[in-house]
Every structure is written in C-alpha cells, then in structure tokens.
Amino acid sequence: MKSKIWVAAAMGLLATALSAPVATAQCGNYPGMMIKFDGDAWAYETSYNTTTLMSTAGSQLTVVGTVSVFCFPFADLNPADPATEYTFIWDGLTSQGTASVPYLVTGMRYTTNYTGGNFRIYAGSPRNAPSISPPALPAPGVVPNAFVDGTMILSGGMGPLAVVVTRVPTGGYSGTFRADYWNTGGTLYNRVGDATSLLAGAWCVVPPISPPPIGTCSLAAGWSAHPNGKWDMPSTVLALPSTWGKIKTMYR
C-alpha cells in the first residue's frame, strides 16, 4: 500500500514537472517562437534621414511595442488580458552608420548595424500604451513612458542589431532585422536562462518618396520604422512541453 502511494506521489510530481503548459499550435515546434509582436511596435532614432534611409553614425535607436503572442515558457501570460499590458523597449542601440550598395544591378540595399542594445519587457496596468497608430513625436509622458511601466518580467542584452532594407529592382521595399539576444534579468528570468537566441523580424521603413512604395509604412512624424517580429526560444529553456496523456504513453 505504501509503495503504491509512493508511486502515485512520484507520478504526480513527475506530471507536475513535465506538464508545462502546452504551447498553442500557433507557436510551432519546440524550440521556436517564444514572444511575438505584430502591429503595435515602432522605431525612432536621433539622427535618421527618412528620404535617404541613412542613419548617421552615433544615432540612438529606440524601439517600443506591445507583445501580441506568448509561447512556451510564457504561454500562461495572456497578451489580450484587459487588465495587463505587456510592452517592451529596445534601447541603448548606437548606429554604426548606414552602408548602401547596389542590389542586383537596379536595386539598392541599405544595411545599418546598431550596437550596445538592451531590451526589457514589462507587465503593466492599466493598458495605456498607444496602439493601432503611434502619436507624433515627441510625446512626453507617453513615449517611451507607457511602454516601460509596470513589472519588468524579462530583460537582456542584444548583439549587433542588423537592419537590412532592400529596394528590390521592381521598386518595392523589403526590410528585415536580426540580432542575437540573451536574457539577464526580470521576474520571469528563471523560466528561460541566459543562452543566446535570435530576435528577428520584418522592418518596414517610412516611405522615402511619395506616393509610398509597396513595402513601406506611413507613420506619424518622428518615427522611422515599424518592426514586427519575434524572440525565439533559447536553448536554456530545458523543460519540454508535454501533457499527462503523452507521459502515460511512455509507460505503456
């Protein structure tokens, strides 16, 4: 009898340890997307020419936004919670200047690396960050304030943020960004650890010409781009998502 109880207790502990919230299907395979942001994220910097797409060396880039999806190990957080808003900021990003080179003869590629960046993700209340469209800058008391209020749940550093904007030969613009990131703190740091992973996505610049070419994003004055993208899960997230049903099949 005691052995049966012990086994039951042990199985209960095992189930608890391994039955981490199953990532919703939209999160894809493990390891994969961990945190995503979509329409509500925007970038501004201190010395950027929206017509030439050139960032001056030394310009300071800041990105603010709101999280749209949480995956494992944050799948218990609800970005649509009416009482809690999950926002983020990237700052400390120093431009190394923009290099422009011809792309496939008639196109052009603009590459800017930003070094020294950090990110912080907050859980705040009430929901007060701008959404849908950002206010014109400067917006004292709102930007970046409304994006950095609340409890800091995750923070970390960023490797060089590489922003690549391509004017393709057909005339449209396609931009992407990527950076290695690593976690260093926050109330939920213990869920992820400090291994390096990828922060990447699309980077939609303000139109350099009128009418706006395809692939550009019209924004209020003062903003330079609209990024959308994701933090991928680092390898230090050790626990695999599972279910009690899956565990049982292991012992059949």
């Binding site: 894809g28 509500d40 999806v69 396609s174 996505g201 959308n228 994701k230």
Partner: protein
C-alpha cells in the same frame, strides 16, 4: 461688432479639417513556415516554374477583424499558394525571385473544440499540411500580385524577406473590410534562417503582417489661408 469679433476669432483660429488616420492600417499578423511545391528542380531554390507556399497561424488581428474573431475558441490559420516563380536573379549569394500573378492568400477559422488542429508535419505537402490549415471556415482571402521574395545566403546570417499586394475578394469577414479598402493591402515579412524549429521539409520561419497605407493626413490651415485659395 459681434460679426467683427466672430470674423476675428475665425481668422485667428487654426482650422483643422477632419483628421484622417495618418498611419497604416494593420489587418493581421502571421507566423509559419514556407516550402517549395512543386519542387521540380531540387538543386535550385525557387527555380523558374517552381511553386512557393507558406502556411501557419494568424498571430493577431487589427481593428477591422478583432471584434469578429475569438482566439480562445478558434484557431486561425493562413495559406499563401499558387505562387509560381516567374523570374530568377542570383548574384554573389543574393537571390531575388518574382512570381506569376496572381497567387492566392487565404485565412481560415477552425473551432478548437470541433475542428482539426493544424499541424505542420514533415515534407509538405503531406497528410496534414496544407489540408489541416485550410479545412475551417474561410474568413478572408484574395489574390496576391507582384509578390517578390529575396534571400541573402550569407553563411553567418542568412535571411530573407518578401512583399506582395493582396486584394481581398472573398470570405465571411469580407464585409468588415470597407469596400474602398479591399485592394492595396501589403503582405510583407521575414523569411528567417534555418534553425531547429523549422520542421523537416520546410525551408524558413516566416513572420509577417498584412497592412494597408493610411490616408493622406490633413494639414492645419488658418482661415486667412483658406480664403486666399478662393481669391
């Protein structure tokens, strides 16, 4: 006297015509994976005549659709297909391809309780993909034109992107899109590097969104400036 005071007030006032949205309108965001099918030339990525497909999940909705969707009870998926490579440009590790117009983009809603959960599987097309991504209700869809994809095969940081035009013309939620805004949507996003999250047989992680340019912003004018227009 009163008339003079009124005219003086109007002359000094800043008249703003009704404010229109200055920023683009966000329709939805998505995340998934892409693959070639047909893949008639396995040795060349996106050779002329090959097909490009991407499928996955809608990750958020903008204001047009948000009141009519429910992520708790339903799963939302996307599928872009019928994109056949038309032109192929490759130079020093940089690839750019264009596609024959039109391709097709569709978005689906499937009940989590009674529907079939979308699964990527391996080596698509397979028993699950794209079938389990397109077996729900068609909520929105349209033709994709001028789709362009580029990829930089930089060995240290491979990455690519895509852009295309979406004209909405079908779906149960089409009535929620203003008739004057059914055309002109932009599909754009990242085709990320290969990594352990990419299922076998798929090529890249896809992350992107669909949006439409905002209206031209109104300018603030004084009453005097307005009068000058009609002299």
């Amino acid at each position: 006297m009163k008339r003079t005071a009124l005219l003086l007030l109007l002359a000094l006032s800043v008249i703003a015509v009704p404010a229109f949205a200055q920023s683009d309108v966000f329709l939805l965001g998505f995340s998934g994976f892409d693959y070639e099918s047909p893949n008639s030339n396995p040795g060349t990525y996106l050779a002329i005549g090959e097909g490009y497909n991407t499928l996955g999940f809608v990750t958020s909705f903008g204001t047009y659709l948000a009141p009519y969707v429910n992520n708790t009870t339903n799963e939302y998926t996307y599928h872009y297909y019928d994109l056949t490579v038309a032109t192929y440009l490759y130079d020093a590790g940089s690839l750019m391809v264009t596609f024959v117009d039109p391709g097709r983009g569709r978005f689906f809603e499937d009940s989590r309780a009674t529907g079939t959960a979308a699964q990527y599987g391996i080596a698509p097309p397979n028993a699950a993909a794209p079938s389990k991504f397109i077996d729900g209700s068609l909520i929105l869809g349209g033709r994709i034109d001028e789709f362009v994809m580029w990829y930089d095969f930089n060995p240290t940081a491979p990455q690519g992107g895509f852009i295309g035009k979406l004209t909405l013309d079908e779906g149960t939620l089409l009535p929620q899109i203003p008739p004057t805004q059914r055309g002109g949507w932009t599909l754009a996003g990242l085709a990320g590097r290969n990594n352990p999250s990419v299922p076998d047989g798929y090529d890249h992680q896809i992350s992107g969104e669909c949006r439409i340019p905002g209206s031209v912003p109104a300018a603030h004018r004084t009453w005097g400036a307005l009068k000058a227009l009609y002299r």
